[in-house]
Subunit: 394 residues, 2 copies
């Protein structure tokens, strides 16, 4: 990419974020009456459900706080962030201190799930909000919740098992989310536990999940890293592994462009681009089987928004840290595919769910699983790394 | 339909069942080494997983027993049924007497789920096997398991709740499966509890789930039958409701063509054909929203095999009990759509998962959720009701 191209990409991501994506969600999604956000919306922004998904309440609070911290100290964003932070603290915990997955508009609980991802998103929300607000209680809360996440991740705090002990497995999801959670905590209010923890989770991923012999990143493996040759064990999630790749490339930049981490992140991206990029229609497919057998999950060959967002970040970051034009080309491919197929030119933001061939499957912009996160994070992150790169180069 | 058409349909279903569908599965799926069946197969019959789905082990045992009971007392089918019956009894229970959802080839447990559908399929398997074998222990086991299912269905035996008590709901699934389980038990070895129980579950469905004012059968409702206006509560499953319709039409026939039951079954079929039939591409869609809002489940507009099977049965049965040519036309439409899009002319049986436009999404014939049940049951049932109708008419 020449300098002009870099500048125009930077301007594009900035403009999309601030003039298209964020205005789709805010201010209309603030819920001053009950706290938090009303995010379950159809293509035109009309509300399809007043319920609140706890993951997404946390993610939206993180976004608003991050905009306040890094773009402009706009009062609306800080007050909006406070709505989410307060709702998370006051409404989303059960009596034993575990966070719900799904609550109603008022905060009454609908569903608890066994995972601790509500907690990880509460950490990044509270950490970013603590930086934005200067509220020391928010910082304490973020650090306390991070400690709880560490206990879950290290098996010291028990998660109700979904499977019997016959065939033990571990997933890439926990080390991945913990890397990103620690990175966000470090980038906002800081915490001495972050560097060591990130390093150990990267080692975990490299040791057990990255398979150079077959050019693959596994989504789950046996405790010793071997491939579990059953339907679930063979199922790959290319967009997820590519998200993990850019968390590691982000860490490489933080560690003065550490060459081993650059190599690891780029291998993960290369392998899963080979597995996930749809040569026929473009875009990243949802699931693949490691041995090309049929994938059981029904939406396996659909195109969801978030794997495209993660791949847009990973390819751009790989290009910026390596200068390898291969990644610039990959970035251009995924960027052009995604913005031409997912972006809603009429109402802003992206559709979430396309069929393999690019037709829209359903029109919701927000539901229990989609909200203001992957797309605005991508636009914000790409803008920010381009800004940084351009400034360093001049 | 004229008589010639009825005869040719009867011959078609018989031939498909015995020369195409059943030979795809058996004898190759018998597992004499560990018991049960190896049913997770790709399009060409190659094995993609040796695991065993407990629902489908029961359903396959039911099928083999039913073929033995109603088609021909072929020794292979009886011995095959015994493999499944024994595996269910010896390998699929935990220490507290609850049945697993998923076990490995040897019967070691992989996953327990909260629902009691493994138990309902064990009832129909054991009842049909008891009739085939004359084994009184199998009959006792079927009746005992039916009693356990009754306790679950009536709330006397506790199921771990998935949701918090904030927004109570009940589903059509339990009354539906219990109607069919009781019908199968009654049709094989008989049980005095069946008639009354079936009548009360039909009343439950009519009272709470069938909405004449909006021409709809709800998949779930609040305890008082009101519609829960949130994403999950609005989600309809047309193929499932149509399956319920034919269970009720089956009951109507059993009760000397009871006109109220015929009317109820036909209303359910009419309403959900209107909601589920895809006017653009043909076939029954998986999910719809009662108010035409976006459906959250990702595969909502795919075409799965089983809703087509259930609709083939329901339309044919509605035609035979009413003589209304409307249902003959609907039957012809769904029959032609399904056999031209789902049937695998090369290897036999049906593909399970098509995109909305009829393209194949993935090729598995068997997995954790698909096996020898909906298709062979449809072919067997349609053959048998046509045979019966033709014999009565002559």
């Amino acid at each position: 990419m020449n300098n002009e191209h870099l500048l125009s990409l930077r301007d594009f991501y900035k403009k999309q974020l601030l003039e298209d994506t964020v205005p789709f969600w805010f201010p209309r999604s603030y819920d001053p009456e009950y706290g938090g956000y009303l995010l379950m919306r159809d293509a035109d922004g009309s509300l399809i459900d007043t319920d609140k998904a706890v993951w997404i309440q946390g993610r939206a609070c993180w976004l608003l706080s991050t905009l306040y911290n890094t773009v402009e100290s706009r009062k609306e964003w800080l007050e909006g962030a406070r709505l989410g932070y307060t709702f998370l603290r006051e409404k989303c915990f059960d009596t034993e201190g575990k966070m719900y997955f799904h609550v109603d508009r008022t905060g009454d609980p609908i569903r608890m799930r066994r995972y601790f991802f509500s907690e990880t998103f509460a950490v990044i929300a509270a950490a970013a909000y603590a930086k934005a607000s200067g509220d020391p209680e928010a910082a304490d809360f973020a650090r306390k919740m991070f400690g709880i996440c560490l206990e879950y991740a290290q098996g010291e705090r028990r998660i109700e098992p979904k499977f019997e002990p016959t065939r033990p497995a571990k997933g890439i999801g926990v080390p991945m989310i913990m890397i990103n959670t620690a990175q966000q905590l470090r980038d906002t209010i800081g915490d001495p536990r972050c560097d060591g923890a990130i390093a150990s989770w990267i080692t975990e991923i490299e040791t057990y999940f990255v398979k150079d012999d077959i050019r693959c990143v596994m989504e789950q493996v046996a405790p010793d890293g071997s491939i579990i040759d059953h339907i679930d064990g063979r199922t790959l999630n290319p967009g997820h592994a590519i998200e993990g790749a850019w968390f590691i490339l982000h860490e490489a930049r933080y560690r003065n462009n550490n060459p081993k981490l650059i190599d690891l992140g780029c291998r993960m991206l290369d392998y899963m681009w080979e597995r996930g990029w749809d040569k026929e229609y473009g875009g990243i497919l949802y699931f693949r089987d490691v041995y090309d057998k049929p994938v059981q999950e029904y939406w396996q060959d659909m195109k969801f928004w978030w794997p495209q967002n993660e791949t847009i970040i990973a390819t751009l970051l790989a290009y910026l840290v390596t200068g390898n034009e291969k990644y610039a080309n990959m970035h251009e491919q995924i960027h052009n595919y995604a913005y031409s197929h997912f972006h809603d030119k009429e109402h802003g933001e992206w559709f979430g769910y396309l069929h393999r061939d690019g037709r829209i499957s359903q029109t919701a912009k927000g539901n229990l699983f989609k909200g203001p996160f992957h797309l605005p994070r991508q636009e914000w992150y790409c803008w920010s790394i381009l800004e940084n790169f351009i400034n360093q180069a001049t």
